[in-house]
């Protein structure tokens, strides 16, 4: 089975990193032992929309994860759509299926889409809880993992820590956990609401 994920936001938020870490985790580490005792591998490809230089504007990063060999590696319509800015919302909200799970940061996205929507205040939470909005993307990634359960927390964490400077490892670990927490709260709230 394939999972198709799209992360979007504005330049500088680290949206691309989210996709890289997810795909890396799936491709390198998220291997389970199958029924026949053999290692079952996933294949994962990350692609991105690549604008000129680092000049704000919207930014998009796609990840496709497959249990079998990857044939077509691009996301056609995402199963998961993570949106971290109003601009990105406007641009990417159309490309979804009825059952696409949508995860937004409600402090940065002003519109409120209909459907299977999760509100994760990653930016505010990052600033308030771990002290810097720089890791808002990691918070969101943690939340995404909790909601999607596409990869294990361990492999995601391992891929994450390989991709960020050593001195920030603790910070990033906390951010990932914080995301998971926000997600369970959101899920709970939804199931209640």
């Amino acid at each position: 089975m394939d999972s198709q994920v799209r992360f979007s936001g504005f330049g500088g938020q680290g949206v691309i990193l989210m996709g890289i870490v997810l795909a890396r985790a799936a491709a390198l580490y998220d291997r389970r032992v199958g029924g026949d005792g053999k290692e079952v591998r996933k294949s994962a490809i990350q692609t991105q929309s690549y604008g000129p230089s680092a000049r704000g504007g919207h930014s998009k990063c796609d990840v496709k994860i497959s249990d079998a060999e990857m044939l077509y590696p691009f996301v056609e319509v995402p199963d998961y759509l993570v949106i971290m800015s109003q601009q990105a919302y406007a641009k990417y909200i159309q490309e979804r299926k009825p059952d696409t799970k949508i995860i937004i940061d409600p402090d940065l996205v002003f519109d409120r889409p209909k459907g299977d929507v999760y509100h994760i205040s990653a930016t505010t939470a990052a600033e308030e809880t771990v002290g810097t909005r720089i890791v808002a993307n990691v918070v969101m990634l943690g939340a995404f993992r909790e909601i999607s359960d596409i990869v294990s927390l361990e492999s995601l964490e391992r891929a994450l820590l390989e991709s960020v400077p050593k001195p920030t490892h603790d910070l990033n670990r906390s951010a990932l956990k914080l995301g998971a927490k926000l997600a369970s709260e959101a899920v709970e709230k939804r199931s209640k609401g």
Binding site: P52, S53, A54, R55, G56
Partner: protein
């Protein structure tokens, strides 16, 4: 003419990063152009490819956004085909001095009447921060991860040696001097060249401990030295490059006949 008569306001905010030096050069250019009472419809702007080279597209006039490095060659044809036009080229250190180096020196030599403004941000901004021919010795870039081992060009000195009629260099920390030199360049016949050392916080500053644009302005202030002083101390320009200084000032101001006068080109409207 207000600034947004000169620039295409409907394209604002422009594409340049926060703190990018291009904007200051645009301000000074508009100021000089306006104070001289020049007319947009009698002026054409030409750019190569690069962040700096995109400025012509923001000006409310005819704009020729060309290929990488060839702006001066395109401008030469345009000017000689329509000599009544004032022609201004916006270019970058990479566009003018790397891939376009030959057209640059031959432009100076041929002395076709045009003003060339080179925004030297010491880096390839548009492509994400590779070293350019003006990246100072030992500075970092994506293609010089161990520090730049080459020594930079002194574009203004080369323009002098190649024969340009007017040559000046300033930094974006010298907005008034810059405005004055742009005016001088626009008023003089023949090939005139103004180099502006400008900040690229995104791709030059960030890798060289000057991520904040104001740090870059401060660096320029500290490194600048007037050319007359530098000359008095008898350091040749290559040595100056070795020291990482930025010589600023007017480098030459002479009156060689321009090419159009020499060939007697007539204005065919």
């Amino acid at each position: 003419m207000e600034i947004f008569d000169f620039y295409r306001k409907d394209r604002w905010p422009h594409v340049f990063c926060p703190g990018c030096g291009n904007g200051a050069v645009m301000n000074c250019f508009y100021r000089a152009f306006n104070e001289l009472g020049l007319e947009l419809d009698k002026t054409a702007f030409v750019g190569g490819i690069g962040c700096s080279s995109r400025i012509p597209l923001y000006i409310n006039s005819d704009a020729l956004h060309t290929t990488h490095g060839r702006a001066i060659a395109f401008a030469t044809g345009l000017k000689l085909a329509k000599p009544e036009l004032k022609v201004v080229v916006f270019t970058g250190d990479g566009d003018l001095g790397a891939i376009g180096g030959n057209h640059f020196i031959n432009g100076c030599r041929r002395n076709v009447d045009m003003t060339v403004i080179c925004i030297n941000n010491n880096i390839y901004g548009m492509t994400g921060g590779q070293a350019s021919i003006t990246t100072p010795h030992e500075f970092l870039s994506t293609t010089t991860p161990r520090g730049n081992k080459e020594y930079p060009f002194d574009l203004a000195e080369i323009a002098v040696a190649a024969g340009a009629n007017y040559v000046a260099r300033w930094t974006t920390r010298h907005v008034h001097e810059l405005t004055k030199s742009i005016k001088a360049a626009l008023q003089k016949k023949g090939f005139t060249f103004v180099e502006v050392v400008a900040q690229c916080p995104t791709n030059f500053g960030r890798r060289n401990r000057m991520a904040d644009p104001t740090q870059m302005l401060e660096w320029m202030r500290e490194s600048s030295i007037r050319r007359d002083k530098a000359k008095a101390n008898a350091v040749d320009h290559v040595d100056l490059n070795l020291e990482g200084k930025i010589t600023v000032g007017e480098f030459v101001d002479r009156n060689r006949e321009c090419y159009e006068e020499l060939i007697g080109v007539s204005k065919h409207g």
